[in-house]
């Protein structure tokens, strides 16, 4: 589904502060795999995720999505395959648009935005059903401006919006880092459910080792721009929170 081969990425190349963020990383993520990436700050996790998303281009190496070479394609050109959830819970939704309008936009992720107006009642019902999953009562107020909602609610919306249109690859960049413990649990559980239910291919970067231990079908540890550990689901099952904590000491 996603294939990275020999990716190298420098920041500030040729300058005194040169950093080699990715050092020849190769990674194959087959369909329906839920890969969790952990690692120290600056180890290259988020850079790796951005390579898949298309917000960064590799200095060398190739990125393939579903067999298409996309190394130089921009993020908005990859949206037909990829949906994203950001670390900043405010970044994934448009505050000046209503909940319904946000979902409308999300439902057009893989298509062009034409001069059509309005949404069908079938779409409204679908959005309400989706909102009802959250148990936040938002389904009763679909015309609320998203800017009036809390960070936890907005991150939940981002997640639901990410799967509105035929999603195939879901990228989650520390989706719970900015949330309180309760919202954090809610988001990770929702993410896990959606990924399982819809059979998505997912890549999640996280600093929360409890989430890393409990979720995902593969666990990847990054250190200094390289993959240092790569556990498949069997190996991951043998691995508990305590052993993950050990990796960081």
């Amino acid at each position: 589904m996603v294939e990275l081969s020999q990716i190298e990425k420098y920041f500030h190349r040729g300058l005194p502060g040169e950093v080699k963020a990715l050092d020849g990383v190769s990674l194959r993520i087959p369909a329906r795999e839920f890969a969790v990436i952990i690692g120290f700050n600056g180890s290259g996790k988020t850079t790796l995720l951005n390579m898949i998303a298309g917000t960064l281009f590799p200095d060398s190496g190739k990125v393939l999505i579903r067999g298409h070479e996309v190394s130089r394609r921009k993020d908005y050109q990859r949206s037909k395959w990829i949906s994203r959830v950001f670390q900043d819970p405010m970044a994934g939704t448009a505050p000046d648009l209503t909940i319904m309008d946000n979902f409308r936009l999300a439902s057009l992720r893989t298509r062009s935005k034409s001069l059509r107006t309005g949404v069908e009642s079938r779409f409204r019902i679908k959005v309400r059903d989706q909102l009802a999953i959250l148990g936040m009562g938002l389904e009763n107020h679909p015309e609320t401006l998203v800017g009036k909602l809390s960070g936890g609610q907005r991150q939940a919306l981002t997640l639901l919006m990410a799967v509105m249109d035929e999603a195939s690859i879901l990228l989650l960049d520390e989706p719970t880092a900015a949330l309180d413990p309760r919202s954090s649990e809610l988001i990770i559980r929702l993410a896990g459910d959606l990924i399982g239910k819809l059979g998505l291919t997912a890549v999640m970067v996280t600093h929360d080792l409890r989430h890393a231990a409990a979720y995902g079908t593969r666990l990847i540890m990054m250190e200094q721009g390289k993959i240092s550990k790569d556990l498949d689901s069997g190996q991951k099952a043998d691995c508990n929170l305590a052993s993950l904590v050990q990796w960081f000491t």
């Binding site: 921009k74 908005y76 981002t158």
Partner: protein, 288 residues
């Protein structure tokens, strides 16, 4: 009374610009200084073509295309060369001064005996009311068009672009192109104001656009503070508020003039007024 009627007329004439500034300021968070130049550009094209006998109906699309081109220039400088939008606008505005001068061939063109857009309603006897009818018609049409556009799927993507670029790109929207299109639309609207004002006042002057962007920003913000007293928040109400802002601002300036303020102080009065509108929310919060 006639004095106020012409202030109201002029307020409506500025609605195109008001809507344009609403798009750039409130949707893209860009105070677009190009406005000063594209407003004059609209007036310069209008005066040049009208005075050589072209129909006002044919002139209008040319004016809008000219404004759109100016906005596109600002947009491309901002998005392609990664130059601050404020500076991009100043650059284009400065360049437009020469463009406008060369379109006009001189620094002012009177429009005394040329055919006006008011000929569509020549059955109305009174000149002021003829203009009022035309201005209201333009305002309604521009407002409906803008409102419709912002309500489409494309408009949703445009509104979201100013909110969270990251999100909109993830939704498959080329935000750079979106900004260029938005700036083009906004400046096309602004040029329509130049088209109307030059016909209404009967001349185009190369300096008529100086500081007009401040008026536009003030009108948009004034409209918003009016909206703040209500609980209305949909885009349609925002556009109506912009139009109210334009008209009220013009009437306030007319009132200042009748109160005996020296016309030389007009720009200062305008600037202070806008400062007041901008600073008001902050002052209110401090007092609390």
């Amino acid at each position: 009374m006639n004095f106020y009627l012409s202030a109201i007329n002029l307020g409506f004439a500025y609605c195109g610009m008001g809507l344009g500034i609403y798009i750039t300021l409130r949707i893209f968070n860009i105070p677009d200084i190009t406005t000063d130049g594209s407003y004059t550009l609209g007036a310069a094209i209008s005066a040049t073509l009208l005075s050589s006998g072209h129909s006002p109906f044919l002139v209008l699309p040319v004016v809008m295309a000219g404004g759109a081109l100016a906005g596109t220039a600002t947009g491309l400088i901002h998005t392609r060369m990664k130059i601050d939008p404020l500076l991009s606008g100043i650059l284009v505005m400065t360049a437009l001064y020469s463009v406008n001068l060369s379109i006009m061939g001189r620094s002012d063109i009177p429009l005394i005996s040329t055919v006006h857009i008011t000929q569509v309603v020549r059955f109305i006897g009174n000149d002021d009311w003829r203009w009022m009818t035309v201005m209201v018609m333009f305002t309604v049409v521009l407002c409906l068009l803008t409102g419709w556009m912002l309500g489409t799927d494309y408009g949703l993507a445009m509104r979201a672009t100013g909110n969270s670029e990251q999100m909109v790109r993830a939704m498959g929207v080329n935000t750079a192109r979106m900004k260029v299109t938005g700036l083009a639309m906004a400046n096309a609207l602004t040029a329509v104001s130049g088209y109307l004002v030059c016909q209404y006042q009967g001349f185009t002057d190369i300096n008529m656009g100086i500081g007009i962007v401040i008026f536009g920003l003030g009108a948009v913000m004034m409209g918003e503070s009016l909206l703040g007293f209500t609980r209305l928040q949909s885009t349609g109400f925002h556009l109506v508020a912009v139009i109210l802002g334009c008209v009220i601002f013009r009437v306030i300036i007319a009132a200042a003039l009748t109160a005996g303020i020296n016309p030389n102080w007009l720009k200062l009065v305008t600037a202070v007024l806008v400062l007041g509108v901008v600073a008001l929310p902050g002052i209110k919060n401090k007092l609390r």
